[in-house]
């Protein structure tokens, strides 16, 4: 029962733990605000959604690579839910759709069955831009 006038569209390009947390948390924030969410995962942002990949992901951005191990350790110690669990929770509570980029999927030879069930479909950029055009907020997480 989302507010029909408000929707968040989000492009997720980065595929490291520190770049996927913001995506999951922004999606949660949108759900709190009763907004539908359309997430377009593309390039490296698509890789962690492959079957079996979400919980194996350990890599962090190159620019803060030296802090990666400490960050992962702190998160485990403080029992911070993973980016993936956070996103799944948002999807359970709200109207969140994850769309895989058809161009990237073709490039790496990936089909729907290669992804975790959280991925709703594989769509072209035209369809996503149409979703973004009707959204009130669009974010690009690189």
């Amino acid at each position: 029962m989302a507010d029909e006038n408000r929707k968040l569209a989000m492009v997720v390009f980065g595929g490291t733990v520190d770049k996927l947390y913001p995506a999951a948390i922004m999606a949660s924030g949108a759900v709190m605000n009763d907004m539908d969410v359309d997430i377009f995962i593309t390039f490296w942002g698509m890789m962690p959604f492959r079957k079996g990949a979400p919980y194996q992901l350990q890599s962090v951005s190159k620019d803060h690579e030296e802090m990666g191990a400490a960050m992962m350790h702190a998160m485990q110690e403080k029992k911070v839910p993973s980016w993936y669990d956070t996103l799944q929770q948002a999807k359970e509570i709200g109207n969140v759709h994850v769309h895989a980029c058809a161009m990237t999927a073709d490039l790496f030879g990936l089909g729907q069955d290669d992804f975790e069930p959280i991925v709703d479909d594989i769509i072209g950029v035209g369809e996503f831009i149409d979703m973004a055009a009707s959204a009130t907020t669009t974010m690009y997480l690189g």
């Binding site: 924030g29 403080k78 929770q89």
Partner: protein
């Protein structure tokens, strides 16, 4: 405030933003109208987010009390 009886209590202490807020939404949705839900949280984001959500979602904020290092936020489901 501590004497406000809650129908359900969520202990989200130690949980990080957006955890307590999301748990609250989940529990409020599955509750009956008139139920009172208390959430315990020591997360700074939720202290601000929860009252804002309650107002927007048109429920009632019964109160917030700060206890020993955490907040007890009490919400009544109105619809």
């Amino acid at each position: 405030m501590s004497d406000v009886q809650a129908t359900k209590e969520i202990d989200a202490r130690g949980s990080f933003c957006p955890g307590p807020m999301m748990e609250l939404i989940r529990v409020v949705r599955s509750s009956e109208v008139g139920d009172v839900v208390a959430v315990l949280s020591n997360d700074q984001g939720s202290r601000r987010d929860i009252p804002t959500w309650v107002e927007k979602a048109k429920h009632e904020l019964v109160g917030i009390e700060t206890l020993d290092g955490y907040d007890r936020i009490v919400v009544k489901k109105l619809h």
